[in-house]
């Protein structure tokens, strides 16, 4: 049944009227018109839909929207503000700045088709929040062995992702 739920997404409050079991992905995409998180598998096997909930990666294709009420949801659209808040940047600087992970994804020219990369960046932000200086082995482990599934890229950009995570780690230390 439809309920009015209050969500906090990318720092803003939204009231949506949807069924409580609707996966978060459909709320983000169809109600809030965000195109960062994308439908990949619908069964938490690929990571294309990943978002941060209170800083932890969540597969939004299977997470009921009711499970994130009263939590902070962040998609890639909200990453610049997360970084700006952390660094105490002014509102005008926020508009001009990207999260170091996003900047690293550009600088290392990571995306090919790019469909999976929103989820990849979300996974990178979570990893760097817990391990600011990951080794290649630790990056591989995080993107492969962390439940519920590996983050999959069919274009095969894994090497570029490793390069970008390490570049972002350096930038975030500065």
């Amino acid at each position: 049944m439809a309920n009015e739920l209050t969500l906090s997404v990318n720092g803003a409050q939204h009231i949506v009227s949807v069924s409580r079991e609707m996966p978060l992905l459909y709320v983000l995409r169809n109600e809030l018109k965000l195109s960062g998180p994308r439908f990949g598998c619908g069964i938490a096997q690929c990571g294309a839909c990943s978002v941060l909930v209170n800083g932890e990666e969540v597969r939004s294709c299977i997470a009921p929207v009711s499970s994130v009420v009263e939590n902070q949801v962040t998609t890639i659209e909200g990453l610049p503000a997360v970084w700006a808040a952390k660094k105490g940047l002014s509102p005008s600087d926020v508009a001009k700045s990207l999260h170091p992970v996003q900047q690293a994804w550009i600088d290392e020219q990571v995306p090919q088709c790019g469909y999976c990369q929103s989820g990849m960046m979300i996974a990178a932000v979570e990893l760097l929040s817990k391990n600011p200086n990951p080794t290649v082995a630790q990056i591989k482990d995080a993107f492969t062995n962390k439940p519920p599934s590996p983050h999959l890229c069919r274009c095969g950009t894994y090497v570029a992702i490793i390069d970008a995570v390490q570049r972002a780690a350096e930038a975030m230390k500065a």
Binding site: V18, S19, M22, P23, Y26, R29, N30, K33, L34, S35, G36, R38, F39, G40, C41, G42, I43, Q45, C46, A48, T75, I76, E77, P80, L98, Q102, W105, I106, Q109, V110, P111, Q112, C113, G114, Y115, C116, Q117, S118, M121, I139, K140, D141, F143, T144, N145, S149, P150, H151, L152, C153, R154, C155, G156, T157, Y158, V159, A160, I161, I162
Partner: protein, 770 residues
Amino acid sequence: MTIADSRSPFVTPVLTRRGLLKMGGVMMVSFAIPQLVAGDAAGGTSPDPQRLSSWLEIRHDNTIVVRTGRTEIGTGMSGFYAQVVAEELCVPPEAITLIMGDTDKTPDGGYSAGFRSGAANLRKVSAYTYLALLSLASQALGIPVSELSVTNGVVSGRSKSISYGELVGNQHLDLKIPVSGEPARVDSNSWNGMSGLDGLVVLGDPPLKPMSQYKVIGKSHPMPGTPDKVTGQMQWSCDVRLPGMLHARMVRPPTLGSALISAGALDKARFPTAHVITKKNLVAVVSPDEWEAINAARSVASGSKWTDWSGLPGSENLTKTLRAYKWGAPSGTRGNSAEVADALARASRTLSARYEQPYIKHAPIGPFVATADVRSDGSVTVWTHSANSQGLRAQIANTLGVPVEKVVVRWLEHAGQFGRTTFGGDGAEGDAVILSQLTGKPVRVQWTLQEDLAWSASSPGWVEDIACALDADNKIAAVRSTFYSSQSNDARIVGAILAGMPGSEPKPGYWVATEWPYDKIQNRLEEVYGMPNPGSDSSTIGLRGLIMRTPGQRQQNFALESLMNEAASSAGVDPIEFRLQHTTDQRLIDIIRATTRAAGWEPQPAPHSRAKRTGTEPIPGRGACIMIRENSYWMGIAEIAVTPDIGSIQVIKFTIGIECGKIINPRQLERCMKSGVVMGVSEALKEEVTFDTGRITSTTWSRYRILTMAETPEIKTVQISRDDKGYGGGSEAANAVCPPAIAAAFFDATGVYPRRIPLTQSYVTSLLKS
């Protein structure tokens, strides 16, 4: 490919730009009264390809809009096109905005797979425009063309200057572009059921800028789409939202050939705004609410009844089925039959092998999606990510029985699909247009992952028999190969087949895909056979086959290069040295030597003396292969570790080298080489479509396994760029260089040559025990 001879459009011109103009020029340049911008033409017609403004417009702010029917496929094609245009026009690539793939806004169409043919059109259009602009500047400034130069879109001479934007102002350059070619159409006489899929070709030989003067090409300019993809600004094919749009989920039959008995009932109390739509075997649930459509479709599916069907052989019987098929005459032959037979008969030794691979999938990370708006006035608009918009447009027109001029295909980016839509269809577009026509509303159809892995076309399984004759000096005197597969050209639209509507009708067949690298082996006979797709007829889907990244050559090169490795071992010669003994092609020799050096390869015959088939310790092995494709020379060297007792293989390092003529963008080429290696390693180790007698069963990522980041090897790249051989295809074929090298490395480690991929744990275990 449109252009058969890879070198012809790109040879260094005999005429220079200035020389041509001094001779009086070949074109009239004048200003026309401003006309409708291309793409604003009424209805669904494509812009007139003979008008310059359909291809290229110079705006008064000195920016440039370029239009091509080709699309970005994830490899950086849009960036490469921008660099090519920028180079010819002497402008920075950032000045260029590309419009791609929309049939009502772009003039040419064609496969998006081929950079060289797509770039050839834009390069010529740019060169024609450059000549015209120089001529106009000469008139405007009163300075002879011979004294003008162009930097960043500003023409200068005798301390006067004028920008392209100022020259053109708000007018259009009235320039006629010579083109040839036929529009795409459904054609039952053609091999793939379609013709005109190459797109239009720009004619003539306008003088092109010599590569020695290049300033833009050869530099690693950033890919134009990257920031939008990284910030969430990109609007993807899945993001189309239209007023009044319905979301649809398809209710598919339980097998690839079942017919509908009755669709399940819809519980209107649970799903008040959903509707079931049925046309023959096409069943869908539509709703304004996507989540309702998803749940209602599941409910309807569970109550639907279908006929049984068992038209497939079962994947475990694939090889047997291919062997048992009555093949008849080959569909492609190359070589000299009598000489090869004679050489094999006279040989001091012969070596023969039988290689094979099961079905594999393009397997995009994003399942296919399409949105269609079919209106009562007969107009049809489809938003999609097909890599051949004009081909798809022709198919949609054919299926709906409307003139092609009424159909518009709009292209947006989506998940990489690796050749699956090269011929136009293989997505949700058929479902979407049929449902929109039936409901009278715009409809968005999102396939599920399971649906995409089960109902899309695959790259068919194959077997190849190959034999060679070794002479007394341990050199190969002749090679004979026979390749068997099912057809790779079935772009029939799933929705049309299920709905019983007209579609393209491909014919069985295959083609000799190798580009022969060993000029010292003069005696060779290559034959290929293509059988109909299992379980496919006009009313059933069956196991449809479609080409996939490095098609045909990926498979046939696996057999040829594996044979070379086995023959080198038989000859007791280092496998790289053995290859060098069979070619005089200096380009090939150069990339072999450079890659070999980069990998630190020390010559030694395979298998290694430490090779063994048992044990719990990882055994190292290394292997090599080469390939020539699309004016590019490739070499791959795999270093792996095999742990026999657990049947595991780890690819430790892969060194890959390319010489592809002039490199457009070294950094993006490196990215494509490395990502291509990931796909190739995935194919070598993991990928296999499984099916029973009715359905594909590998329909999730836990059953159709692809490489993960943890399994990705260290990858080292080698690039050789040269100015005297035109452009080659660089972004596609890295995948095909991996499986033969990995198979050879397995042999080096174990002494057992794997004649099948993928090298899964169960196959490796059985191989080492046999």
